[in-house]
Symmetry: C2
Subunit: 369 residues, 2 copies
Amino acid sequence: MPPVKDVYIAVIGAGGVGKCFLSQLETLSNRLTKNTSSLKLSLVLVSRSKKTLYSPQYTALPYSNLASSLDSSTQEPLSLPKIIEYLAAAPAKVVLVDNTSSQDVADAYPQVLEKGISIVTPNKKAFSGSYKLWQDIFSAASTSGAKVYHESSVGAGLPVISTLKELVDTGDEVTRIEGVFSGTMSFLFNSFAPTEGKGGKWSEEVKKAKDLGYTEPDPRDDLNGLDVARKLTILARLAGLQVESPTSFPVQSLIPKELESVGSGEEFMQRLHEFDGQMEDVKVQAEKEGKVVRFVGSIDVGKKEVKVGLEKFDRSHPIAALKGSDNIISFYTKRYGANPLIIQGAGAGGEVTAMGVTGDLIKVLERLS
Amino acid sequence: MPPVKDVYIAVIGAGGVGKCFLSQLETLSNRLTKNTSSLKLSLVLVSRSKKTLYSPQYTALPYSNLASSLDSSTQEPLSLPKIIEYLAAAPAKVVLVDNTSSQDVADAYPQVLEKGISIVTPNKKAFSGSYKLWQDIFSAASTSGAKVYHESSVGAGLPVISTLKELVDTGDEVTRIEGVFSGTMSFLFNSFAPTEGKGGKWSEEVKKAKDLGYTEPDPRDDLNGLDVARKLTILARLAGLQVESPTSFPVQSLIPKELESVGSGEEFMQRLHEFDGQMEDVKVQAEKEGKVVRFVGSIDVGKKEVKVGLEKFDRSHPIAALKGSDNIISFYTKRYGANPLIIQGAGAGGEVTAMGVTGDLIKVLERLS
């Protein structure tokens, strides 16, 4: 039997995804112990907004009542630099799990990786910000040998990033990537312009999606297209394009010009119906061609073109036939020819997003030497 | 700079998949050298049927003119035990790439793994033979620390095995797996019972598929359903079912009873048209229900039921809407709920099968400590 190797896990962010991840981490940790694995995972830090729970001596925090222990923690909250300092001083390998969507945390990744601390995260900000941050992250990882995985930054737990990486790493030529990358947009258009039946008015569908919790608290954060643009930025970079930022290519916003400057999300929702005619025109135009409209992103690798916006699809097209809030991502490559490699399924939700994070953690553990 | 670590690669099988793999290996090997990776891959052995080309001192074989060098090799062909002996004596880590579909090679996997030699392979035989062989393979790997990957044993390069493993390893509950697992069957039924139009007679579609090279030399090797049964056996075992063998569950053969005992594939093809009525009945029956017939495999994990055969699907169902010789695999799980995680694309062909093998090789290299 090889000696047991400690790996310390630190988790920043304990909201929807964070809570699901902590539960999956507990299960994984117990499984490793039960299977007398040579790895022993110890959760040593959990933090969210103004609260930190950590173990100064790097002993494992208990999972039972973790959420309430964090709530009632009387430990001095650690700032991000202090957290990094604490982890860098750990007497074994450390994996930092960033379950936030914070730009501040993302900006610190190069510094974290330089210190040999590996990162797994669903946080899109680090990989879709400036191209310099992207370069700094992977160069820091390459130098120190620390790992960085971010499967859930696109399509939640769906194997999107890993598949694209494998296509590239095995020498295939990716020519085009297209798909529906937002669960919110998927739900909205599958209801607004269904392949069968009429669908409702645009503002009513947005309200329904909001009431069901499918949109951000302010739906404009979905309708501006930036979330999809961030995902496209990540995929385009992995496919070899030097995309400068998620605003450096055409992104169609579904926020009517007149409502761009209204103060609150509530006012936006109250006035959205005034512009139902615009979206209705788009739907009717597509219907005249026997098609339906969908909000998609696409990358033409050869032409170095990335774009996000409305497009029309035949009713029998897989993108048109999506259900619920599913994502679909099609990879067109030299090897796969005319019929793309397609990945489809839920692209949002706490459990499936956390699954991508846990899957990444397993990959890091398998690669820690 | 860490010291450069040698890894020796041995390749058994240099047919369709083997040739594509060798070309991908050369590209990968050059890329590692160019990126001043800490790994240096050396191809030290290539063998097929009665020919072996190997380097007694474990120096790298040149890739240029490899096929003709193998053809004209005057080295004494090495038997399988001799190959294993040669690899076990290598002064560094070794990965054996089995690009054959040989049961003999598959039976030797436990012995290979015991010696610390890792394996990557598209060979279904090892993982769909007796349950004892399956157990021996993974127990040998677990004991020695050698790795064994077989992504291309189901769906060629599509991320099927890795996705299923990740669902299981991250604690999801897989309830049902279903899909079209044979490129040949996909092509046959997409032509015979298309979602639009009439399709041809069954025997004519089989002949067309054979002429296009989509079937085995003797089409009965596809029509008996065993290839699909082997793939289902592998997935069911990964999902936790102790499936004894690919003949231990119901498999519908499309070979008419009367033709089971004819001597040659040619005679079979000549007489197949006599039984077109049987398949026509199946097609018409489905049409009456507004459906199309497809050859599918399914695993009900809860009920521990595995089956392979004809089933009817609505024309709008993703399985009905497949194109060409594509595979589609749907994973129904607790986390994904009503809408499954779906993987779709070419599930056969030299390049995409080799891609799965090369991808597995990269995974092994990343995990070799």
